[in-house]
């Protein structure tokens, strides 16, 4: 006995434009309401003394702290320093990781030669290399930038190599049937197929670069947002630490968003997964 299943078109099919707009609006509202809810809860917990307001200064106390840091120029100086370091380190590391990852993804020989060595280095916590970097590059910005670059490099390298290797064999075979040469294979098959995964890796490494930056600035620097956070902790100026933490979170988010936005320019065909950058 056969069964016939009938399905009426849903709202999405009947009103695709309206549905999409509504979903986009919902995503933005959800994306914004969670942090807003968090801030409200944070403020309430301090006002109602569920937590010690000295140890956990509420958002209302961060605003005067932010103004004070702004007025004495510390905030701008720290933010500019940190952003400069993270962008330089990220660009250096990402460029290296991209090139090496693509080459290793396409070449079995290179993979066989470099993969064990690279994996071994990948697992070393880069902060443990700090004394070596300090000896080689000195105590200035160079050490910080190179250490961020080294961290980003490994994350990008792995994601790029994996993305290239994961391109389905059928894609390559189709291109070979069309007599594509090595460059054409790379330009028209491997790169477009791997790009979505590559940009996921680039976005993850954007966050990692900020993590690394703060870690290094905690330890050696006398500038930057990491230093601002650490100084606030040491001096028991906890508002300063919290302002720094919020700024670092914001920079990390904006940085990942920027990489995502750049990614969207290159991979318009993939589905959207972000509330702020709708398709």
């Amino acid at each position: 006995m056969s069964t016939t299943l009938y399905r009426r078109p849903g709202v999405a099919e009947l009103h695709p434009v309206r549905t999409r707009r509504r979903w986009n609006a919902t995503k933005v509202v959800l994306g914004v309401s969670v942090p807003v809810g968090f801030v409200v809860l944070w403020q309430l917990s301090a006002v109602l003394e569920w937590v010690d307001p000295f140890l956990y200064p509420p958002p209302s106390r961060l605003i005067p702290g932010l103004v004070a840091l702004w007025e004495d120029g510390k905030l701008v100086e720290a933010t500019v320093t940190s952003v400069r370091r993270v962008i330089l380190g990220y660009l250096l590391g990402a460029a290296g990781g991209l090139v090496v990852g693509l080459l290793m993804g396409m070449s079995r020989v290179l993979r066989a030669a470099l993969e064990p060595f690279s994996w071994a280095w990948y697992t070393v916590p880069k902060l443990a290399l700090l004394p070596i970097f300090l000896t080689i590059f000195g105590f200035g910005d160079t050490s910080v930038v190179v250490l961020i670059a080294a961290t980003v490099y490994f994350f990008v390298w792995i994601s790029v190599m994996s993305a290239v290797m994961a391109v389905p064999t059928g894609y390559r075979e189709a291109a070979l049937m069309l007599r594509a040469n090595r460059w054409e294979m790379f330009r028209h098959v491997l790169l477009p197929a791997a790009l979505p995964e590559i940009f996921v890796g680039l976005r993850i490494s954007a966050g990692v670069s900020v993590l690394m930056l703060v870690g290094i600035e905690f330890v050696i620097s006398d500038q930057g947002l990491g230093y601002l956070i650490e100084q606030g902790r040491t001096l028991l100026l906890l508002e300063q630490s919290y302002v720094g933490i919020v700024l670092v979170a914001l920079i990390g988010y904006l940085f990942a968003l920027l990489v995502k936005a750049i990614g969207r320019l290159f991979i318009r065909w993939t589905s959207d997964d972000n509330a702020i950058i709708p398709t």
Binding site: V51, F54, T135, G138, F139, L235
Partner: protein, 386 residues
């Protein structure tokens, strides 16, 4: 209907939590009356020095060995103590523990490593009883923001501080930064870099500033670079910095190369820059326990740590165990002069430097009685005027 019930229950829970957090904290136990101060056998007039006496060559307060005598607590008590490191300046604690001086008072010490900045809020909240640290900017910020923390015991003084021909902890400079390396003119330090662990926020900001002022410049005339203590000597030898405040045992490396480095400033002679800090949980709620701790500390100093104690094997064993450093490393630096007292004005001088460098967020010096309590060590030696 059930949705409203859930909402009602949630609101009830929230309001209960709010009430619980706001006014339901356990009330402070009534403070124990420590009674009148009575003379202590073995602790004569030399056991207490007027806090206003800042002379570097004054006699450091001491009682006879084995005194003040133990007065065991009725009930065993535990003291949760923290320190940023297992420094050799904690010898009275390590030796006192090894020799059973705290046990004699029915006290047990639970020692853990925690940076002083992180320990202060715990101290004020009563989760830590005693912390070892320095008179840092963080302490004054904490006090100014209402945290109840008191400096109750000093740590040590540096009798040789005034004599810069004696290698010691202090401000070391590379000779090659001076136009005449053999005879450095310290005015030339203006604009040079200075490496320090906590920068202008540490207890040594005051002695650094004092040392520079003697030569017509201030700490503000130098560019401060903040680096970990272990990296300062490396930075100095790499010429990444020009000068550095080198702590034990790092100055030994500089002292081994007198042609390359020169000591340009030492600690303030005769002043302790740190020591032991207690919170409300000890001072107000368990003063008898703090008193027992202070008594055991002072007795340990009098009995084992007066003079060149580093040559005493049992002291060295206890220090090696406590600091977790090899014996050879401990014997490389000279014995410290422990001083449990707190000089008058040290905190004020520190604050003035911190205010100038804006590492504290207030402009007027906080009165000493808000962060110093000399009554415990005075009572331990029977100083009745306390």
């Amino acid at each position: 209907m059930s949705r409203f019930r859930v909402l009602g229950a949630a609101l009830l829970l929230l309001s209960a939590a709010a009430c619980g957090g706001g006014g339901g904290e356990p009330s402070a136990a009534p403070a124990t009356d420590l009674g009148a101060v009575v003379p202590v056998e073995g602790c004569g007039p030399d056991s207490y020095v007027d806090p206003a006496d800042l002379s570097p060559d004054r006699k450091i307060a001491r009682c006879e060995a084995g005194t003040p005598e133990a007065q065991p607590l009725k009930e065993p008590a535990t003291i949760r103590m923290t320190s940023a490191s297992r420094s050799s300046s904690l010898a009275p604690i390590f030796v006192g523990m090894a020799q059973g001086e705290f046990e004699k008072e029915n006290l047990k010490i639970e020692f853990s490593v925690l940076p002083f900045a992180d320990a202060m809020p715990q101290l004020a909240a009563g989760r830590v009883d005693v912390s070892y640290g320095g008179t840092e900017a963080g302490l004054f910020n904490a006090v100014s923001q209402g945290l109840d923390i008191k400096w109750v015991l000093g740590n040590f003084v540096e009798p040789k501080a005034a004599d810069l021909s004696q290698p010691q902890t202090g401000l070391w400079a590379r000779r090659d930064i001076f136009s005449d390396p053999a005879d450095p003119d310290l005015k030339e330090l203006k604009g040079k870099t200075l490496g320090s662990t906590v920068g202008a926020a540490s207890a040594i900001a005051y002695p650094m500033d004092k040392a520079l002022r003697e030569h017509g410049i201030t700490l503000g005339d130098m560019e401060i670079k903040q680096l970990p203590a272990a990296d300062l000597m490396t930075a100095l030898s790499n010429k990444a910095i020009d000068t550095a405040w080198l702590l034990d045992p790092y100055w030994l490396t500089a002292a081994d190369q007198p042609d390359s480095y020169v000591l340009v400033g030492g600690q303030p002679a005769g002043e302790t820059l740190g020591g032991f800090y207690a919170g409300k949980s000890m001072i107000e709620e368990r003063p008898e326990v703090l008193q027992a701790f202070v008594r055991a500390y002072i007795r340990t100093v009098n009995t084992y740590l007066d003079g060149d104690y580093i040559k005493d094997d049992k002291v060295l064993d206890a220090m090696a165990e406590g600091t977790q450093q090899p014996r050879d490393s401990l014997t490389r630096t000279p014995s410290l002069t422990f001083d449990w007292e707190i000089r008058q004005g040290t905190g004020e001088s520190e604050q003035k430097v911190f205010i100038a460098f804006k590492t504290v967020k207030y402009a007027d010096v906080i009165a000493e009685d808000r962060y110093v309590d000399r009554s415990f060590y005075a009572r331990a030696v029977g100083h009745s005027a306390s």
